[in-house]
Symmetry: D2
Subunit: 486 residues, 4 copies
Amino acid sequence: MGQADGWRALVAGRLLHGGLRWGLAMADGGGLFGGLFGAGGARTGDTAWLQAMLDTEAALARAAERAGVAAAGSGAAVTAAADASLFDLDALGQAAARTGNPVPALVRELRSLVNGPAARAVHAGATSQDILDTAAMLLARQSLTAILADLARAADAAAALAAEHDETIMIGRTLLQQAVPVTFGLVAAGWLTGLDEAREDVARVAATRLAVQFGGAAGTLAALGEAGPRVAGLLAEELGLAAPPLPWHTGRLRLVQVAAAAAGAAAVTGKLARDVTLLAQSEIAEVSEGGEGRGGSSAMPHKHNPVVAILILGCTKRIPGLLATLAAAAEQEHQRAAGAWHAEWETFADLLRLTGSAAAWTADLLSGLRVDADRMRANLDAAGGFPMAEQVAALLAPVLGPTQAHDLVARASASAALAGLPLADALTTGETGHTITAAGITKVQLSDALDPAAYLGSASVFTQAALAAHRATTQRLSQPDSFRTG
Amino acid sequence: MGQADGWRALVAGRLLHGGLRWGLAMADGGGLFGGLFGAGGARTGDTAWLQAMLDTEAALARAAERAGVAAAGSGAAVTAAADASLFDLDALGQAAARTGNPVPALVRELRSLVNGPAARAVHAGATSQDILDTAAMLLARQSLTAILADLARAADAAAALAAEHDETIMIGRTLLQQAVPVTFGLVAAGWLTGLDEAREDVARVAATRLAVQFGGAAGTLAALGEAGPRVAGLLAEELGLAAPPLPWHTGRLRLVQVAAAAAGAAAVTGKLARDVTLLAQSEIAEVSEGGEGRGGSSAMPHKHNPVVAILILGCTKRIPGLLATLAAAAEQEHQRAAGAWHAEWETFADLLRLTGSAAAWTADLLSGLRVDADRMRANLDAAGGFPMAEQVAALLAPVLGPTQAHDLVARASASAALAGLPLADALTTGETGHTITAAGITKVQLSDALDPAAYLGSASVFTQAALAAHRATTQRLSQPDSFRTG
Amino acid sequence: MGQADGWRALVAGRLLHGGLRWGLAMADGGGLFGGLFGAGGARTGDTAWLQAMLDTEAALARAAERAGVAAAGSGAAVTAAADASLFDLDALGQAAARTGNPVPALVRELRSLVNGPAARAVHAGATSQDILDTAAMLLARQSLTAILADLARAADAAAALAAEHDETIMIGRTLLQQAVPVTFGLVAAGWLTGLDEAREDVARVAATRLAVQFGGAAGTLAALGEAGPRVAGLLAEELGLAAPPLPWHTGRLRLVQVAAAAAGAAAVTGKLARDVTLLAQSEIAEVSEGGEGRGGSSAMPHKHNPVVAILILGCTKRIPGLLATLAAAAEQEHQRAAGAWHAEWETFADLLRLTGSAAAWTADLLSGLRVDADRMRANLDAAGGFPMAEQVAALLAPVLGPTQAHDLVARASASAALAGLPLADALTTGETGHTITAAGITKVQLSDALDPAAYLGSASVFTQAALAAHRATTQRLSQPDSFRTG
Amino acid sequence: MGQADGWRALVAGRLLHGGLRWGLAMADGGGLFGGLFGAGGARTGDTAWLQAMLDTEAALARAAERAGVAAAGSGAAVTAAADASLFDLDALGQAAARTGNPVPALVRELRSLVNGPAARAVHAGATSQDILDTAAMLLARQSLTAILADLARAADAAAALAAEHDETIMIGRTLLQQAVPVTFGLVAAGWLTGLDEAREDVARVAATRLAVQFGGAAGTLAALGEAGPRVAGLLAEELGLAAPPLPWHTGRLRLVQVAAAAAGAAAVTGKLARDVTLLAQSEIAEVSEGGEGRGGSSAMPHKHNPVVAILILGCTKRIPGLLATLAAAAEQEHQRAAGAWHAEWETFADLLRLTGSAAAWTADLLSGLRVDADRMRANLDAAGGFPMAEQVAALLAPVLGPTQAHDLVARASASAALAGLPLADALTTGETGHTITAAGITKVQLSDALDPAAYLGSASVFTQAALAAHRATTQRLSQPDSFRTG
C-alpha cells in the first residue's frame, strides 16, 4: 500500500511535503564542472541533502503527532522550521566532525528554531542514521524520477530514429571491422531496447525498493515504547516511501539495488554514446550531433566534436567504480557500521548525479542526432562487396560444403583485398571463378548474393519488435501497480 | 511465454538437454583453492562452459530442423555429438588464439564429428558470439538455481534462529561500541530479511532476464533469410530461455543485471559473515561456528577460528571489483565489441562461482551456528548499565528538556566510566542525583529505566514481521508466474 | 634538473607563482560533508582547479615571452590577470557544456582581461588539455605536499607510540581470535612501517612523476613552429614541474601512478583505523580516541565513538573504486580521448581530497590516541593461558613430535575451554597431565611455557628495526635528490 | 643487500632453488580460455602456487639448519621432498576447507614425506600466512620477470616503429575527430614512452618491494626464541627476496604496490591496443596485424580482425577491478585478516596472469604490426585541408587577432564542409577570401599554411627524445643497483 502510494508520487513527479523547496537547492549544475557532469534534473548537492534531512525530521514530527506521542501542533511547527534556507550549511558541516555526521548539529539547530513543546517532537525516537538514510531515499526518489523522465525522452527519440530509418541500409561493424549490412533502424532499435529495459528496472526499484529507515539507536525503536511501528508506518506514509518489515540500518541491499539499476541505465547510455562517437568519426561521418555552436575546439577552428556523446561517456565511465564502492560498503557491522556507512553518502549522491547527467545528455543527443543516410550508403558501396562474403559463402555451402565454401570465399576476399579490387572480381575470375561456375552457380545468383539490400535478414522484423516493446513499456510504466510486489 | 517456461525449468532445477552432462563438469571445487572459493553448486569451470556451448549448438540444430532449414535428423545427430567428453579442451583453447574465441575451432570439430548432411545444421546462421553468450546464460541459469537453493537453505536457518531467539537479549552495537539492548532474534531477522530480499531479486532475474542470444554475423540473422525469427524462437524454446525482442550482442544490460543480483546476494552474506566474525571474537564469544574439526590453526593449537564466515568474506570481498568490470565492459562498440566482450567471460564465471560459494557457505554457517545466550546476557550485564543511558535520558527529557537531559546523562556516563562504576551510581549520587531527585524522578522509575529487558522496544514485532515476510517470500517463489513481466 | 627543482619546491612546501592564491581557494572543508571528507590540507575544489588553470596559463605566457614568441611584458600582464577571484566560476561552468571543458571560455575571458598585445600570449600554442592536465599536476603537487606533511606527523606519532610501548604486553589477534602475546609497541611499529613506506612512495611520485603536459592540438606543438620544445621546457621551469620527453596527453601512466601512490597511503591509514575501531570496542577497550567532545551520539548519551578512525575509514573505503576508474580511464584514444579523459577530472580530485583527509585524520588519531596498558594486561590475563598453547606445543614437540604435540595441546585447549577452566588445569590433570609428565616435562618448564611475558620473541627487535627505518626515511625525505631517476 | 641479490636473480631470469621446477607448472595457457588470457610467461596456476609454497618451506628448512635451530641435513631432506609432483593438489584443496587455507594440510603431507628428525624443520616457527605470502612474492617475481621481458620486447618493437616512421605523416585525431597532422613515428613514440615508464616501475617494485613474510603466529616469531630474526634473514637470502624491517602480515602495501605497477603496465598496453583497433578500422586501415591465419571469423570469410589487440583489451579491461579488490583488501584486522587476506590469493594471481598475457600479446602485436604509410597519406589528403585550419588561423591571428582569426576560420570550415569543398576554396572565395586578401595575406602564404608536411612542429624532436629515453631505460635496467633504496 505504501509502495503503491510511493509509486504514484513518483509517477506524478510530485515531491511530497518538500516539493516546492527543491527550487532552493543549489543547482547541481553549478561550479566549474557542474555544467558537464551535473546536467539533468537529479538534485544531490548539499542543499538537496539538507532539505531532505529536514523533510524527514518534519515528517517524523507529523507522524509522532498523529501517533499521539508528540504534542498537538508539533508537526506543523517543525515543518515550518524545516527549511534549508534557515540553516548554515558550512556551520553544520564543521560541527559534523565532532560526531561523525551532520545530524546531531542539525537537530540542535532545528530544536532551537522550534522552541516550546514541539521541540520534543524533533528527532523523536530517531538516531542520526534514520535521518540520513531516509534522506538518501528521498534524494534517490527525486533523482530516479528525473532519470526516468530523461530516459523516456531518450527512448522516444530512439524510437523515432528506429522507425524513420527502418530501411536505411548501412554497414554493420564487428570488432571494429566492416561486417555485413544492417540498417540504422536496427542500430537505433538496439539502443531503444536498452533504454526501455533500463527504464523498467529503474521504475521497478523506484516503486518497490525506496523505504523509510527508522529504527532508533539500534533498530528496536525502544525510545518510542510500543508506539514504534505505528510512528514508523505514519512516517512512511508522510513521505510516500515504503515501510519495510524491519529497520535496514545495516542491511544495505536497497542502496545497492538502487545503485545497480541506475548503473544499468548509465551503461545503456554509455553504449550508445560510444556508438555515436565512432559513427561520427571524420572517416565515417554517418551521424553527427545537432546542437548549434557546440563541439568547437579552442585550438582547431574546423572541428565539430561530438561533445554530448563525449560528456555521456565522461559520466558513465565513473559509475562502475562508484557502484563497486557501494557494493563493498554493504558489509556493515552489527547495528551501525564504522566507516562503510559514511563511505556511502557522497558516493551514492555522485552515482545518482552522474546517471542523471548521462540520461539528460542522452535525451539531448538522440533528439538532435543527424543521420546521414547517403553517407551510410556510400560507405557501404565503398566496401567493395566484401560485406557480402558471408552471403556468397552461404550460396556456395550447399554445393561445396560449409567449410570449403567459407575457405574459398576467405581466400578470394584476401586476394581481392590485396589487389585492391572488389570481391566480385575475385569471384568471377581465375581458379575461384572456375570453381564457382563448375559448381553450377549462375552469374545472376552470384550478383544477387552480392546485393546488400537483399541481405538484411530480419533487421526490420527486429526493429518493429523493439518498437512494439517500446509501446508496451511506455504503457506499462503508466500503470504503476504492475510493479507492486508486496 | 518463453519466460514462464524458463522459470519452470529453473524452479524444477531441471537442466534441459544438457542436464545429465553437468556431472562431467570438472568440479569447480577442484584445485588448490577450489575447496574454498568453488564451494556450492554453481558450475562455471571449463567443462561447464564447453558443455553449455555444445548444448547451444545442439539446440540450434534441433531448432533449425524444426524450422525446416536443416535436414531431418540433424538435430538428433548434432545433439549426439555435442558431448564435452568428446572434445579436447586444451586443443580448443590453443586454437582459440587464432580467432580470439574458442567457438570456430569448436564448430569445425563438431562438424567433423557429425559428418553427412547434418554437418550443415551445425552453427546454422550463427556467429561465435551467439554461442558464447547463450552458453553464458545457461551457466547463469545453472548457477542461479544453485544459488537460490543455498540462499533458501540459509534463509530457513536464519528464520529458525530468529524464531528461537526472539527473546534472547543481547547488547546492540553501533560503530563497534555497545549501544542499547537488542535481541539476537532481531539480529537474525535482519540477516533473514536480507537473504529473502536477495532471493527475490535473484529469482526475478533468473526468471525474466535470461535470454537466448542469436543474431548471426551482425544481428540481422541474414544467413537464415526469412527463417531467422522462427529459428530464434525455437532455439529459445529448446533451451528454456526467453526470446528477446532483438539480439542483444552489444546490449549487455542482461549480464549486468544478473551480475548485480548475484552481487546483492553476496553482499547480504558478507554482512552476516562480518557479524559472525565479530560476535565470535574471543572477548565477545556470543556465537561460534559448528563444524567439527574446522577452524584449527597450524601454529596455534588452541584456536577455533570462524573459518566458514571468513571464507564467505574471502568470496564476497572480490565481488564488487568483478561487478565493476562487467558494468564497465557494457560499453560495447557497434555490433560486436573489440575487447569488452572478451573481458566478460572469466569475470562473469568468477562472479557466479564466488557468489555460489558464499551462498553455500552461508547455508552451512547459519545451519550450524552456535548461539550462547548466557554469554550474551553476561556481556550485557557487564556493561554497567551504560546501554540504558538513552532510556534514562528519555525518562528525564519531559522534565528537563531533551537537550539538557541528553547532556546530563552524557556527563554522568562519562564520570561513571572514568570511575569504573555502574551508571546507576553516577545517577543517584552527587549533583546529578540531586538534579534527578529534584526533577521528581523516583527510584523505582530510575530502576525501571535501567532494566534492559524492559527496553527492547519493537524488537519482537520486527522479528515477527521478518518471519512473516519470509513465509511470504517462500510462498511467492513457489509461484513462478508472479515474476513474468512480459 | 626540472625534477630536482620540482622536488625542492615540494619539500619546501612552496607553491611557485600561485602560492599566495591558494588562500583564496574555496575551503574543501566547506559544505555539508566537507568537515568530514575534506579535512586536511589538500585543496581540490573548484577554486583550486580554476587557479591552477590560471597559473598554467600565466606560466605559459611567461615562458612564451622568455622564448621570444610573445611580446615583452606579456608574462607579467597575463600573470596579473590570472587571478581566480576575477572570474565567474558558474559562468565558466555553464559555458563549458558547449565545448566539453571549461578552458575555451576561460581563455576568452582571460584574453579580454589582458587586452593589448599580451592577449596573444594567452594560451600560446596550447590546447585545452594542456591546461587541464597541467593544472591537475599542480593540484596533485599541492595535495601530495599536504599529504606528506600529514603522513609525517602520523608517522612521528606512531613512532612515539611504538617507542613508548615497546614492552607493553597485549594479546595478539588473528582472524579476530586471540592468538599469542604481542606488544602494543609492535602493533604501532607495524602502522609506522606502513606509513613510512607510503611516505617514500608518495614522495617518489611527487618528485619524479609530476610533469608539465604541453603538446598543442595533437601533440606536435606545431603552432609554435620550432620554438615548441623550448617553450615547453620554460613552462616546466616556471611551474617547477618536470619536462617529459614528449607530451603525455593520452599516455596516462603518470596519473595512474600518482593515484596509486595516494591509494597506497590511504590503504595504510585504513588498516590502522580498522585496528583502532576494533581495539576500541567496548568489550576490548584497549585504546580510545583523545579529542575532547568528539564521538558523542545523538541518541545515546553514554557513547564515546571512535569518530576519527571511523572518518578515516569513511574516506579510505572510497579510494579503491576511484583508483579503478582512473586505471580504466587510461585506455585513451589516439591524440585525445573521447570521454575517458573527462572521467578523470572529478575522480582524480576526489581521490586526492579523500587521501588528504584520511592522512590528516590519521595524524590527529595517532597524536591523541589513549592506550590503556592495564586493560591490555587484564585482557591477556583473562585469556586463561590459551594464548600460550603454541609455546606449550613447542615445549612438547621435541619429545612427542610436532604433530602429536600440536594435537595434544589442541585437545587440552578444547576440553579446558569447554569446562571454563584455564589451560594450565587441563595440562596438569587427567590423561594429558600424565602424558606430559611421562614425557619428562617438569612443572617449572610448564609454568615458564605458560608465561606470556616470556613469549614475546622478537617483538622488541622488530619494533626497534621499524624505529630505525623511520629515522632513515625521515632522513632520506630531507634529501630530495635521492629520488631523481632522470 | 638482499634486495640487490633479489634484483640480480630477477634480471638473470634465474629462479633460485625452484627454477627447474616451473616446467612442471600446469601451463597457465591451458584450458578453454588459457590460450587467450594466459598467454605469456607468467605462471600463476595451481601448480605454480604449490611449488612456490614448497620452495618456501624448503628454504625455511635450510635457513633453520643454517641458523642452528634444525638438525643437520634437514634443509636437504625437506628440499628433496618439496616437489609439487609428489602432492595431490585436489586433496590439499579439499582439506583446505577445514582450516581456511591449504598450508596446514601441505605441512602434514610434507612432514610425512620427510620423516625423521628433519620433519621438525618443516614449517619451523612459521604460520600458514608466512608460507602463502612468501609464495605470492615468489609468484610475483616469476611473473614480473616474464612481464619485464615481454615489455622490453614490446618497447624495442615500438622503438623500431618510431624510428622507421619518424617522417611518416598521418592525420592526428582528437576526440575521435581528425585534428592536425602528426607522424606515425610520434604515435609509436608515445606508446614507447608508456612502455618504458611502465618497465621502470615494474622493475622498481620487483627489485625493491618483494620481501619475505615471516612472523610466526602473530608476528613475533616467538616460537623461534631469539633465533627469529636470524632465521628470517637467512630465509630471505635463500629465496633471494628482501628481508623487511618487520613482518608485514597485515601491512599489505607491498602487494598493492606490485599490483599497481602491473596495472600501470597493463594500462599502457591497453592504450596502444585501443589505438591499433581504431587505426585498423576498415574505413581507416592505416595499420593491420601481422600473424598469418589470425583474425578470421566463423561467420564472415572476408574479415581480418585485429585479434591480438582485442585480446590485449580483453585482458586489460579486467585489471582495474582486480586492483580495486586488492586495494580494498588492504584493510586487514590486527595480526591476521578475517577474509580480506583470503580475497587476495586468486585476485593477485589473476592480475599477474592477465598483465603477463597483455604484455606478451603486446610484444607480438608491435613486432608484427603492418603500417600502411600510403594509406595514412591518402587519408590525410582526403581530409580536404581541414586539418590545416589551426595553421591558417595562426597565420591570420597576428593580423586579425586570435579570437577573430579562430572564428573566421571556423566559419569557413563549416561552410566548406557543408558544400563538400576543400577548405582552400572557402578561404579564397567570397567574403572570407576578401577579408584574407585585405589583411595582406598572399596566396603563397596561404598555400604554405595549407601544407600538412610543413606543419609537423616538434613531432620529430619528440620522437627522437623518446628514442633516447628508451636507450637510457634499457641501459638503466641493466644496472640493477640503481633501484636499491635500502
